[in-house]
C-alpha cells in the first residue's frame, strides 16, 4: 500500500505516494529522474549512492524513502549554482579526480558534507570522511587533493565575500 512522502529535494518541494519498500535512491532516480545519484553495490558498501539528508552524507540505497519524510535532500544535481559549477566540481575537474565518473556524484556529496562541517580538512581527515567510497578507477589520492583544493577555493570565496 502506497504511503505519502513529503520532502524537499534540491530546494524543491515534492509530495509523492510511494510503496514502503521503495528506497530513497529509487525515488530519486526513478520517480524524480535525478539519475546523477548512482547505485552500485546492493549492500551498502560503496557509497556511490551518497546524497545529503538534512546536511549529512548518507547512503540513499540504505534508507527507506519514507524515512526522509519532512526532510531535505540534496543530490549532485543541486550542487552547481545554475551554470556556475560549485568549487568542488571545478576542483574535481581541475585535479582529474574522476575517471569513469560513476562514483563521482556520491563522492562530491560526501565531500560537500565534509567541507560544510570542516572547511579546512587535513588529508587524513579527508581520507576518514571518504573511506566508505569505493572508486575503481583512481587511486583516491587525486580525489583527496581535489577536496583540499576545493577547500582552499571555498575559503578564498568566503574571504572575498566577507571583504565586499
Amino acid at each position: 500500500m502506497k504511503k505519502e512522502l513529503k520532502f524537499k529535494v534540491n530546494g524543491e518541494d515534492y509530495d509523492l505516494w510511494v510503496e514502503p519498500k521503495t528506497l530513497l535512491v529509487q525515488v530519486l532516480r526513478d520517480e524524480l529522474g535525478l539519475k546523477g545519484t548512482k547505485w552500485a553495490c546492493d549492500s551498502g558498501a560503496c557509497c556511490a549512492c551518497t546524497v545529503m539528508v538534512d546536511g549529512r552524507a548518507v547512503k540513499s540505497c540504505s534508507i527507506l524513502a519514507l524515512q526522509v519524510n519532512g526532510k531535505e535532500v540534496m543530490t549532485v544535481e543541486g550542487l552547481a549554482n545554475g551554470p556556475e559549477l560549485h568549487p568542488l566540481q571545478q576542483a574535481f575537474i581541475d585535479n582529474w579526480a574522476f575517471q569513469c565518473g560513476f562514483c563521482t556524484s556520491g563522492q562530491l556529496m560526501a565531500a560537500k558534507a565534509l567541507l560544510d562541517e570542516n572547511p579546512d580538512p587535513t588529508i587524513d581527515e579527508i581520507k576518514i570522511a571518504m573511506d566508505g567510497h569505493l572508486c575503481r578507477c583512481t587511486g583516491y589520492n587525486m580525489i583527496s587533493e581535489a577536496i583540499q583544493d576545493a577547500a582552499k577555493r571555498l575559503q578564498a570565496q568566503k574571504q572575498q565575500e566577507g571583504g565586499k
Binding site: K35, T37, A45, L79, C135
Partner: protein, 762 residues
C-alpha cells in the same frame, strides 16, 4: 618538447562537466518509453544436465511479458576468437547442460524489476548434477569430467614460444633456481555493473543496443553471431561507461538476452545485473599455476628462462586464450632473455570463466618473475636494482620471431628510481622494507583473432564552415580518458583548441570501426587513425593556403594557433577560419572531410610499441600479526611522449591501486565452484585510508610508431604492485610467498616459517 600546443599539456577531461554535474548518461541510467525489465535465471549447479524447465507458473504472474529458454534462442554461438570457430563457445542460455554456477538458463521480461525477480522464483528447473572440475591440474587428467565434450582433457588453448637454445644455456649458467606459484584471480569490480538496453524494430528488422561495453564493435559482432543477424542490422551505442578494466570486452548474456526478449515482445528490454551477479557471472582475471626456472651468470646476467603455465580458464573462452599468449610474452619483459621456452595451456573448468583484466598476462607473471629475481639477486649478493639494470632491454631489442622493442627507457627508469629512493627514503624503520618490480605492456595487440577485415582503428574528421570539428571514431572511453586524448590529437594537428572539437564516439552506425578499449590500444592505434584523418584535412587546408599565397612558395606551411602561415615568416599567413571557409567554397561546397585508419604492419607478433618502467613500494610489516601497512609508492615510467599528463597520472594511480589490491587483499573465495564473497562487503578493495601516496616520475622517450611518439601509458602499472609489495615484505622480514594475496594470516605464517628456517640454520 614545447613545440606542441596541446600535446603534453595538462588538459582537463572533455567529459568533466557532464561527470561532475551528474548529467553524464550511462547505459545504467537509460530508459526508453514502454521499456520492459529483464532478469536471468541462473544455475545453482557448477555442472549439471538440464532435464526440464517449466515456466508455466511464472508466465501467469501479472506483468510478465515474455520468458525464454535455450530452445527459444536461434542457437548462435559466439566468442572473441572468431578466427577459430571451435573457440566460439558462448551461448545465450544453456540448453543441454550448465557449466558454472550462475550460468543463465532462462530469461524473463516484465513490467518491473520486482516482477521479473519474482518470476524467476516461479520457474522450475530440473537438473541432473554432473561431476564437476574446478582445479586446472585436475581438469587435464584423463578421468576428469569434460566441461565441453569436444575438448578432451579440457584443453581449451595451448601456446608454445621458444627461442635460443634453452637446454644448453642452463648448462652454462652459474646459478639456477626454480619456483612455483599459484596466482589467484581478481575481479574487475567496475562501479557500473554489466547492463544493456536493447530495442528491436520489427518493421525494419534492425536492432539497437545501448550497453556498458569496452568495444561497441566486438559487441556488434557478438550479437550478430549470437542472433544470426547481419552486422549491419545491429547498431551498438556506447554511452558513458562506468569502468571496464577488461571485463567488458566479451559479449555477455545480458545484451544477447535483452535483444532476444526485445525481439519477442516488440518492446525495448533492459537487463541490469546486480552486484552479486556481477561477481558470480561476469569475467575475471585468469588464475594460473606457474613454474619458472631461471639461469643466471654469477654477475646476475640472465642466460635462460623456462616458464610453464596452466591457467584456470573456467567454462568458456572469452579473451582467456589471449591471456595465455601474453603471459608467455610479458614474463620476459623488460629484460634481455637470450634463451627462452614457454608452454602455456588453458583449461576449461566448471567456474565462471576468466578473461582479460587490466595488464592481462602481465600482472600474474610479473609477480612470479619479479619476486623470483629478487630471491636470485639476494642469493647472488647483488642489489635488486642492479640485477634489473644489468638485464634491462635497450632500444631496438628483439626477441627472435616474437617482438621488437623500439623506444625503450627502462635503463633510465631504473637509474632515476635508484636516485629518488636514496633521496626520499634514506632510512627505514624496523620491519619496514622497500620492494621493486619492473613492468612493461603493449600499446594495443597486433593479433587479429576477432577476424576483422577492417582497419584496427578508423577515424573521420569533418571540419564545419565555422571551423569547429566533428570527430567520428569508435574508440571507447570507459573512464581512462581516451575522449580527451582523441580531442587533443585532433586539435594538435589542426592547430585549434580541444573545445573546438565535438566528439561522436562509440556508435557503430555512424563511426568508423575501432577494436575498442583493451590492451592499451586507444592512444597509439586510434590516435594514429585520428592523426591521419586530421592530417588529411590539414593537407587540404594547406593546399588552399599555398594557392592563396601565390607561387614560388619554398617555405613549409604551419597550421597552429588557428592560423596557417609560413614557418620561417610567421607574419605571412591566414586565419584558420578564413582558409576553412575558402576550402569549402572553392570545392563546390563539399564538406572538409578527412578519413584515417591504422593497422600495425610488420611489427612482430605482439604490439607495435611497449610502455615500461619500475615501481617501488615501501611497506611496514607487523611481525606479530602479519599485517602489512602500505606506506609509499614511487613509479618511474616511460610512456613515450605523454599526451595528457593529467590523465596519465590518473591512470597510473588507478592501475597501482588495482595492482596493490592483487597483492594485498583482493581474493575471489570459492567453494566447489561457488563464489562465497560476491559483494563489496566481503571482496576487499583498497579504499582511501589504505591507499598510499604515489609519486610519478616520467622518463620521456619517443616511439616512432606512436602518434607524436606516444605509447602505452598506464596499464603496465597494474602489474608491478603485487610483486613490489611482496619484495618489500621479503626485504623487511625475509618472508617468501608463492601466492599473491598477502592477507595477514598468510604473512604471519611465512614469517614464522622464515624464523624456523633461521633457527635451523643456526
Amino acid at each position: 618538447m614545447s613545440e606542441y600546443s596541446v600535446i603534453g599539456k595538462p588538459i582537463k577531461n572533455v567529459d568533466g562537466v557532464a561527470k561532475v554535474t551528474g548529467e553524464a548518461v550511462y547505459a545504467f541510467d537509460m530508459t526508453l518509453p514502454n521499456m520492459l525489465y529483464g532478469k536471468l535465471l541462473r544455475s545453482p549447479h557448477p555442472h549439471a544436465k538440464i532435464i526440464s524447465i517449466d515456466t508455466t507458473e511464472a508466465q501467469k504472474l501479472p506483468g510478465v511479458k515474455a520468458i525464454i529458454t535455450g530452445k527459444d534462442t536461434p542457437g548462435g554461438k559466439w566468442g572473441l576468437w572468431r578466427r577459430y570457430p571451435e573457440l566460439c563457445d558462448q551461448t545465450a542460455l544453456a540448453t543441454e547442460k550448465v557449466r558454472y554456477i550462475g550460468e543463465p538458463v532462462a530469461a524473463v521480461a516484465a513490467t518491473s524489476i520486482d516482477i521479473a525477480e519474482r518470476a524467476l522464483d516461479l520457474i522450475q528447473v530440473e537438473y541432473e548434477p554432473l561431476p564437476a572440475v574446478f582445479d586446472p591440474l585436475e581438469a587435464i587428467k584423463d578421468d576428469a569430467p569434460l566441461v565441453h565434450e569436444d575438448f578432451e582433457n579440457n584443453i581449451n588453448a595451448t601456446r608454445h614460444i621458444e627461442w635460443g637454445n634453452v637446454d644448453e644455456a642452463f648448462k652454462a649458467a652459474d646459478y639456477i633456481r626454480e619456483d612455483r606459484f599459484t596466482l589467484s584471480s581478481q575481479h574487475h569490480a567496475p562501479m557500473e555493473v554489466h547492463n544493456a538496453l536493447a530495442s528491436y524494430d520489427k518493421g525494419t528488422g534492425r536492432l539497437t543496443v545501448w550497453a556498458s561495453t569496452q568495444s561497441p564493435y566486438f559487441l556488434q559482432l557478438g550479437l550478430a553471431d549470437a542472433l544470426k543477424m547481419r552486422e549491419g542490422d545491429i547498431r551498438v551505442i556506447k554511452p558513458h561507461v562506468g569502468g571496464g578494466f577488461g571485463g567488458k570486452n566479451s559479449t555477455m548474456p545480458e545484451s544477447v538476452n535483452a535483444a532476444l526478449l526485445s525481439k519477442k515482445t516488440g518492446r525495448p528490454v533492459k537487463i541490469v545485473y546486480n552486484r552479486e551477479e556481477e561477481f558470480i557471472a561476469t569475467e575475471h582475471r585468469t588464475a594460473m599455476n606457474l613454474a619458472i626456472k631461471i639461469g643466471l651468470k654469477k654477475d646476475g646476467t640472465i642466460l635462460a628462462k623456462e616458464v610453464k603455465i596452466i591457467t584456470d580458464g573456467g567454462a568458456y573462452t572469452g579473451l582467456g586464450a589471449t591471456t595465455l599468449y601474453l603471459a608467455g610474452t610479458f614474463i620476459t619483459f623488460p629484460y634481455k632473455t637470450p634463451n627462452y621456452r614457454y608452454d602455456g595451456f588453458r583449461t576449461y573448468t566448471n567456474t565462471m570463466w576468466s578473461s582479460s583484466m587490466r595488464g592481462f598476462g602481465a600482472v600474474s607473471t610479473v609477480y612470479a618473475a619479479e619476486t623470483q629475481l629478487d630471491r636470485a639477486a639476494h642469493d647472488l649478493g647483488i642489489d635488486p636494482l642492479e640485477i634489473r639494470r644489468r638485464n634491462a632491454m635497450t632500444p631496438g631489442y628483439e626477441a627472435p620471431g616474437q617482438y621488437k622493442v623500439e623506444s625503450c627507457g627502462i635503463l633510465e627508469c631504473i637509474d632515476k628510481m635508484k636516485e629518488r629512493v636514496k633521496e626520499k627514503w634514506p632510512k627505514l624503520e624496523k620491519d619496514e622494507g622497500i620492494g621493486f618490480a619492473t613492468f612493461a605492456y603493449m600499446s594495443g595487440g597486433i593479433f587479429n583473432w576477432i577476424d576483422t577485415p577492417y582497419a584496427f582503428s578508423g577515424a573521420m574528421v569533418k571540419v564545419n564552415i565555422d571551423g569547429t570539428v566533428d570527430l567520428f571514431t569508435q574508440a571507447s572511453d570507459i573512464g581512462q580518458g581516451s575522449n580527451t586524448v582523441a580531442a587533443m590529437i585532433c586539435a594538435e594537428v589542426l592547430g585549434i583548441d580541444v573545445e573546438d572539437i565535438r566528439l561522436h564516439l562509440g556508435d557503430t552506425a555512424i563511426t568508423l570501426t575501432d577494436l575498442g578499449a583493451w590492451g592499451s590500444r586507444e592512444t597509439l592505434m586510434n590516435g594514429n587513425a585520428i592523426k591521419a584523418a586530421a592530417e588529411e584535412v590539414k593537407k587540404k587546408l594547406i593546399s588552399v593556403a599555398r594557392m592563396k599565397l601565390g607561387e614560388n612558395i619554398v617555405y613549409d606551411l604551419v597550421v597552429k594557433n588557428k592560423r596557417i602561415y609560413l614557418e620561417l615568416r610567421p607574419e605571412r599567413g591566414f586565419s584558420y577560419y578564413d582558409i576553412v571557409r575558402d576550402a569549402i567554397k572553392e570545392n563546390d561546397g563539399e564538406p572538409l572531410i578527412g578519413i584515417g585508419h591504422y593497422t600495425p604492419h610488420n611489427k612482430g607478433m605482439i604490439s607495435p610499441a611497449y610502455g615500461m618502467g619500475i615501481q617501488a613500494v615501501r611497506a611496514k610489516v607487523d611481525r606479530e600479526t602479519g599485517h602489512i601497512e602500505l606506506r609509499d609508492v614511487i613509479v618511474v615510467h616511460d610512456c613515450g611522449q605523454t599526451i595528457n599528463p593529467l590523465g596519465a597520472r590518473g591512470q597510473v594511480e588507478g592501475s597501482t591501486q588495482m595492482g596493490l589490491g592483487f597483492g594485498l587483499c583482493e581474493e575471489i573465495l570459492m567453494d566447489n565452484g561457488l563464489i562465497i564473497n560476491p559483494s563489496f562487503v566481503d571482496y576487499k578493495l583498497i579504499r582511501f585510508r589504505d591507499m598510499p601516496p604515489i609519486e610519478l616520475i616520467d622518463v620521456p622517450t619517443y616511439d616512432p610508431e606512436g602518434p607524436f611518439g606516444a605509447k602505452e601509458a598506464a596499464e603496465a602499472t597494474a602489474s608491478p604492485g603485487a610483486a613490489a609489495l611482496a619484495n618489500a615484505v621479503y626485504h623487511a622480514v625475509g618472508a617468501e610467498f608463492d601466492t599473491n594475496v598477502l592477507r595477514p594470516e598468510k604473512v604471519l605464517k611465512a614469517i614464522r616459517e622464515k624464523e624456523k628456517k633461521d633457527r635451523a640454520g643456526k
